[in-house]
């Protein structure tokens, strides 16, 4: 019944719209208009709307920055993240003016040069000089961006020097949870593979490998010492996942059959970040950022950054693999 009424209502609306339009057109024809030509008045209105839109668009942009600016990620909690953020700001400094200036020209010209029968458009079909200028200027700007970008990229992707003090953690993804394994006192991760998965050994660590014995498997959260480089090794046992740690400006895919890596130095403890963000409940997180199945939207693990002493205390409490 409701459906029937709805259908009839829609039909009536369409029919009345058709009739209204038809009448409007007949009326215009009666007044001697070529009805599909854009009238002078319409053209003026549209030109004016160009300006209105320009202003409204910029206002909307500014409003969003003002309203949502402080929802953005807080200062970077990793060493390389500072480089990332600086590069982002350099890029903004380049693209926001480009965005603003080109839009001003676009909509201003559209407004200014609206049709006027007393004027002739200028036949201006090319100018090698102009075209050269606006090929060269972006080229220079881009060279700068590319150079900055590549040097930052190299810095970020350089692996941790294995001779130096560092923490080695393997993170394993699966639908829809994370497991982590610390390398233990020998600083080496034992062999692991899907063929060893059995019962409690969810990470598939090879018991026979000597290096495995002192490895420490943790679930639910990982702890990191502030100021010490952390070398992550990522694995997945089913589909592709992605380990995303936005506060550290860090992300790496977890790919079944392939080991991937990422490293960073945490610089701000969880406690300090609570103060910086003015949020008692603040917690660093690791979340999944590659579509991986129905519960992709809820695949997370907490990260706690603390002083080296606290970290070592926590680690000492974790059981070695051999003890399980």
């Amino acid at each position: 019944m409701v459906a029937l009424v709805a259908i009839v209502a829609v039909l009536l609306i369409v029919i009345s719209a058709v009739q209204t339009l038809k009448i409007a057109e007949l009326w215009a024809i009666n007044k001697g208009k070529v009805i599909y030509e854009v009238t002078k008045k319409q053209n003026k209105t549209q030109a004016l709307l160009m300006l209105v839109f320009l202003v409204a668009y910029f206002a909307f942009f500014a409003w969003q920055v003002w309203k949502w600016g402080d929802l953005m990620l807080p200062v970077s909690a990793s060493e390389h993240g500072v480089i990332t953020d600086r590069l982002l700001n350099i890029t903004y400094a380049f693209i926001i003016p480009v965005f603003v200036i080109t839009h001003i020209f676009l909509f201003w010209f559209a407004y200014k040069y609206a049709y006027n029968s007393n004027r002739k458009a200028v036949f201006f079909s090319h100018s090698n000089k102009l075209e050269l200028i606006w090929t060269i200027i972006p080229s220079i700007a881009l060279t700068v961006l590319i150079l900055f970008g590549l040097s930052s990229w190299n810095e970020i992707m350089t692996p941790v020097d294995s001779e130096k003090e560092h923490v080695l953690i393997e993170v394993q993804a699966q639908q829809f949870s994370w497991n982590a394994r610390y390398a233990g006192t020998d600083g080496k991760l034992g062999r692991a593979g899907v063929e060893f998965i059995e019962g409690v050994n969810a990470m598939g660590v090879d018991i026979k490998d000597e290096n495995s014995k002192d490895d420490k498997i943790v679930r639910g959260e990982i702890h990191l010492p502030v100021g010490v480089p952390v070398q992550f090794v990522f694995r997945s046992i089913d589909v592709i996942h992605s380990a995303y740690m936005p506060h550290f400006r860090a992300q790496m895919n977890c790919v079944p059959g392939v080991k991937t890596q990422f490293n960073f130095v945490p610089t701000i403890t969880t406690e300090d970040m609570k103060k910086i963000t003015n949020n008692e409940d603040f917690n660093y997180i690791l979340l999944c950022n590659k579509i991986c199945g129905a519960a992709h939207y809820n695949m997370q693990m907490d990260i706690i950054v603390e002083s080296k002493e606290d970290y070592e205390k926590w680690l000492a409490e974790q059981k070695q693999f051999a003890e399980n």
Partner: protein, 594 residues
């Protein structure tokens, strides 16, 4: 009426409207099919926007459209992914590849180069029918057990390979792959036809440098398609093997559903390389026709030659060339060699140069023009705006060091919808408004067109601009809801606002639908050259006739952009502000190098 006569008429109907080999009819078939798919894709997006804006709330509309995919009016998490996947697939391939290229390449190539039809009308017909079959299979896949494909439009294995991983990777995924294989065949048939036609069937005097920019764009698009779609086909075939015949191209070391799979030795990264070797050129396959269409419209409606014709052509070629060597920018965080990442950053950022040139040339074309704001012109100006707004954020995403932190977040969703989705759809709308008289012999209503444009552009930015902020706050894409993370709790306002804009945008498209059908059936009849344009299609009669021109095909004597050309005394050379391509040069007229 005798029986045989009747039979004859039926046959006529069948060959005129259904199995037509006439490029003008095939173009309309592509348009209608593409728009229908686009409409479905849009409804899907509105539904999943409801879920994102109001997570977990029950909606009548969700219940009505989704049925068993949504219990009590709340969609299931895996069905959210199914919708997103099908939305992306439909929009990119069915609306903006087949719908856009299929419509306008078919309509305009023969008419603008001065040919009686495509090189092969039969292959052209096949191209449409392959597309049609692919459409049907894709739609059927929505109703099968387990649901449609749900692994994202990028269908990365192992997720797409294993039904254990997500229900949509069962029969739904098989049908997706079959549909896409047929789609690719359709695309190849079409593209080869376009290329051959443009290269071989130009009328006398139509040199390459006299081609309208539309044709250049269609030509380069077709070449890109021929180069890259076969790679997607091979990627899909290997995936079919992995799924159905136990091979291990993409699979290795997998433990799922309590057991270790036999597959070993493959790599999902291989699939990503193959996919993006098509995937990135694909965004230009979507975009270039829109750029060609709007170049033509901006020039015509500004009553000015397009500025820097040769630079425009060079930019199209440069963009196309670069677009096949940048695919790795989708894979910066897959663990690929950092040196490779550096190379891809370099090539990617280079694309900004020809893109910037195009933008500056558009803007200079407006400068000192005499602009008529037809709805087509509005959408063309809109395209320049979206191309800029979405293009500049590409400099962030293309920079590997920055991409680490925003890869796969909503920043990406905002970026590609604006630069590719909006630009291409604006180009498509512009094309329909502009060439509607060529298709249907009638004109669309301007007033409705004005409303359609302004509501659409306002809502479009309202939907996609805020997404950048979500992304910068670390919100991942392809999430069923953001409510599981305290971190994202205060994002709910943004999500609600976006959803409201999306709903209004969707309803605003009904204005277009109404205008389209009303005008096609009852709109005012068009004159032969309603926009007073130069290009060749406007010399053909309004009524569609087989072969396009009665009698001889006109000869071409100049390029398509002699608008407002004046002589030494400042008077229009032709007495009007345009000179058709078929008009020979005057005795004292310079040809401007074309």
């Amino acid at each position: 009426m005798s029986a045989t006569h009747h039979h004859h008429e039926e046959q006529d109907f069948l060959f005129k409207y259904i199995f037509s080999q006439d490029h003008k009819m095939i173009s309309k078939q592509f348009l209608i099919t593409g728009f229908l798919m686009g409409f479905i894709g849009m409804v899907m997006s509105t539904l999943f926007r409801l879920q994102l804006g109001f997570p977990g709330e029950s909606f009548w509309a969700i219940d009505f459209f989704l049925g068993s995919w949504a219990e009590n009016g709340v969609m299931a998490p895996d069905k959210y992914l199914a919708l997103v996947t099908m939305h992306g697939t439909i929009m990119v391939f069915f609306l903006l590849t087949a719908g856009l290229s299929g419509t306008f390449s078919n309509l305009l190539i023969p008419l603008q180069i001065g040919a009686r039809d495509m090189a092969s009308g039969f292959l052209n017909m096949l191209s449409y029918w392959f597309f049609f079959v692919s459409t049907i299979i894709m739609l059927i896949s929505l109703g099968v057990e387990g649901g449609s494909a749900s692994a994202g439009w990028t269908i990365y294995p192992p997720l797409s390979a294993l039904p254990q991983a997500i229900p949509g990777s069962g029969l739904g995924m098989t049908l997706w792959l079959v549909a896409m294989a047929i789609f690719i065949a359709s695309s190849l048939l079409g593209s080869l036809n376009y290329i051959v036609t443009i290269l071989n069937l130009r009328t006398k005097g139509m040199t390459m440098t006299r081609l309208p920019l539309t044709i250049w764009a269609f030509l380069v698009t077709a070449i890109l398609g021929v180069l890259s779609f076969p790679v997607l086909l091979s990627a899909a075939l290997l995936l079919i093997f992995d799924r159905s015949f136990g091979t291990s191209f993409y699979l290795s070391d997998i433990y799922i559903g309590g057991q270790v799979l036999e597959h070993s030795g493959g790599s999902p990264i291989l699939f990503e390389h193959l996919f993006w070797f098509l995937g990135h050129p694909e965004v230009y396959i979507v975009l270039l026709p829109a750029l060609g269409i709007t170049s033509e419209i901006v020039s015509t409606m500004s009553r000015k030659p397009i500025f820097g014709y040769r630079a425009m052509v060079t930019s199209i070629l440069a963009i196309a060339f670069l677009s096949v060597i940048v695919w790795g920018h989708h894979m910066f965080v897959t663990g690929m060699n950092p040196f490779l990442g550096a190379v891809f950053t370099f090539t990617t950022l280079l694309i900004a140069i020809p893109s910037a040139v195009k933008v500056f040339n558009y803007i200079t074309t407006l400068w000192k023009g005499n602009i008529i704001f037809s709805p087509a012109m509005l959408f063309s100006i809109g395209l320049v705006s979206t191309f800029i707004s979405g293009g500049v954020t590409g400099l962030i995403l293309g920079d590997s060091a920055l991409d680490i932190n925003i890869h796969d977040t909503y920043f990406v969703v905002g970026h590609f919808h604006i630069v590719m989705g909006l630009s291409a759809i604006f180009g498509m709308f512009a094309g329909v408004y502009h060439w509607f008289p060529k298709m249907f012999g009638r004109m669309m209503n301007n007033t409705i067109g004005f409303f359609h444009f302004w509501i659409t552009i306002v809502c479009a930015y309202g939907v996609f601009f805020p997404m950048h902020f979500l992304g910068l706050a670390g919100v991942p894409r392809r999430y069923y809801t953001n409510s599981e993370f305290p971190l994202f709790d205060n994002m709910i306002d943004i999500n609600e606002l976006v959803t409201w804009f999306a709903i209004v945008a969707a309803f605003a498209q009904l204005l277009f639908v109404f205008n389209f059908f009303y005008s096609a059936l009852r709109g005012p009849r068009s004159s032969q050259n309603p926009w007073r344009a130069n290009s060749l299609e406007w010399t053909a009669p309004v009524e569609h006739i087989h072969g396009n021109w009665p009698g001889e095909i006109p000869e071409v004597h100049r390029w398509a952009y002699d608008y407002s050309k004046v002589d030494e005394n400042g008077e229009y050379v032709s007495g009007e502000d345009f000179i058709s391509q078929v008009v020979p040069l005057g005795p004292n007229e310079k040809d401007g190098g074309h």
